[in-house]
């Protein structure tokens, strides 16, 4: 989408740019947290896992900054039309990225428990799923930064592939537990991890939906986000 014309009041553009740049920074941090959490999991790197957990603070702080800044823009500028949509989208996207950061942190928190076990079976599936989800987050953030409704729609469309992948990994892990009850504990951790990844994918999709609304004023037709029903059959 072509960038909109400049505002007559230039500092209004500065405000919107600054708001976008905080969101951009948050998105970068959340994606890096996600990538490093998977990396720490695959290599049982406790130090890296600890760093991911510690770095999540920064994302939380930025989210509060986004919230305060968005409120201030609404109060001072009374944004209308696309500007209003953009500020509201930033507010919601900030909250979504913060959740993505939390999921990455949760994955890192499981590294210690998993490294105690000799089970290594799910590694490559988790690695692949981690990549898919990370790319989704990246695409969603690029769609936001470029105000690109087409990329936003593509993110929305790709979510199904992640749900399918989750489903098959989930079935595999259930099967392994059924075969060898000693694997119950580590495989359950992996189930939570892939569930977290699946939720990150949903949040990337939610970001894409906000981007689409912000850019066009139209909602993407709602798509049922998969992966929820299977949660009920968790063997716990």
């Amino acid at each position: 989408m072509a960038p909109p014309n400049a505002h007559i009041v230039k500092s209004f553009d500065d405000d919107l740019r600054a708001l976008r740049s905080i969101i951009g920074e948050m998105g970068g941090l959340a994606r890096s947290g996600l990538d490093r959490s998977i990396q720490s999991l695959l290599s049982f790197d406790m130090e890296l896992a600890e760093r991911v957990i510690a770095d999540d603070r920064r994302i939380d702080d930025l989210e509060m900054e986004v919230e305060a800044f968005a409120i201030s823009i609404i109060a001072r500028r009374a944004p209308m039309a696309q500007d209003l949509r953009e500020v509201i989208a930033a507010l919601k996207i900030g909250a979504l990225i913060e959740r993505i950061g939390d999921y990455g942190k949760n994955i890192s928190k499981r590294v210690a428990s998993i490294s105690d076990s000799k089970y290594r079976g799910a590694g490559s599936g988790v690695e692949r799923m981690g990549q898919m989800v990370s790319e989704q987050v990246d695409d969603a953030m690029r769609a936001f930064l470029d105000r690109d409704p087409y990329l936003a729609r593509a993110v929305n469309d790709q979510d199904e592939a992640i749900d399918d992948f989750y489903e098959s990994l989930f079935q595999t892990l259930l099967g392994e537990i059924a075969e060898d009850s000693e694997l119950t504990a580590p495989a359950t951790h992996y189930i939570f991890i892939i569930k977290n990844l699946e939720r990150i994918g949903d949040h990337a999709t939610n970001i894409a939906e906000m981007v689409h609304y912000s850019a066009t004023g139209e909602y993407l037709e709602a798509r049922a986000k998969g992966g929820d029903a299977t949660g009920l059959t968790l063997p716990l």
Partner: protein, 266 residues
């Protein structure tokens, strides 16, 4: 050739509009101020006219009760109807028309007479009250509707011009409603008022909504968003876009509307 007006589905009226304008042109001498404007005004809603200075809002608004007749060089073309009747019909009684389609101006303009007389004047010339008691009742009812009765009931003999700006504007609204109009036209009624007096007028507009078709011209985007349910955006004499207020302010369709309401007009 002007771009066609973008008309949102929700403002397309199934049954009769209170007032309709069709292909209305207004010229001041050679200069065209309003260009082929068509619009329906619904009696259930407040309709806001917005647009940059000089785009023809006031000129177009004044067509609805033939106030442009008072300007020698103004020429109005096209058709405007009130309840399906052509108001520019030579047989139309203009005094009667202006009682049915009242007007409130930017600058409060009470008569230099008592508060009571400001209200009583219209009903008297239209023969709406014969007995003093009837007139007293109209005065009280009008001032009450305008949210002014409690403030002025003990000083009805004082001059209308001695009130505050906000009170004067409410007095003018009370005066407009005293003759039981069907439509009230307001041209920037709050532009001379502070935020509290403005809020009072907006609250009053909200109260009056439903009883009268109300059309308000305003430069204040927030005010249009707050008080109206329908918004029409004008530019260079054209009606660019007409739609539900919420849609206009969250998702306008025409680029010119968007640029104007977001403060991007070049």
């Amino acid at each position: 050739m002007p771009d066609a007006t973008v008309v949102h589905d929700e403002v397309v009226m199934a049954d009769g509009a209170k007032m309709t304008a069709r292909d209305v042109d207004v010229f001041y001498g050679e200069k065209q101020a309003v260009d082929k404007v068509s619009i329906d005004v619904d009696s259930h809603y407040v309709t806001a006219f917005i647009g940059p200075s000089g785009c023809g809002k006031s000129t177009f608004l004044r067509c609805f009760n033939r106030m442009n007749d008072t300007i020698d060089i103004a020429r109005v073309g096209g058709r405007i109807e009130l309840d399906g009747k052509d108001i520019y019909d030579p047989k139309m009684d203009v005094v009667q028309l202006r009682a049915r389609v009242g007007m409130v101006f930017q600058k409060p303009n009470p008569f230099p007479k008592s508060i009571y007389e400001n209200i009583a004047y219209g009903p008297r010339i239209h023969g709406l009250a014969s007995a003093k008691a009837d007139m007293d009742e109209i005065v009280e009812r009008s001032l009450t509707r305008a949210g002014l009765w409690n403030e002025v009931k003990d000083r009805l003999d004082e001059s209308g011009t001695a009130m505050s700006g906000g009170q004067q504007q409410r007095l003018c609204i009370a005066r407009a409603i005293a003759v039981d109009p069907e439509v009230i036209l307001m041209d920037e009624p709050c532009s001379a008022l502070d935020p509290i007096a403005t809020a009072r007028i907006e609250e009053l507009i909200d109260d009056l909504r439903g009883n009268y078709a109300i059309v308000i011209v305003t430069h204040n985007m927030q005010q249009a968003a707050r008080v109206s349910q329908r918004t029409a955006f004008f530019h260079l004499g054209n009606l660019v876009e007409y739609g539900g207020t919420e849609a206009i302010f969250t998702n306008p369709r025409a680029d010119r509307t968007r640029d104007y309401i977001t403060g991007r007009f070049g």
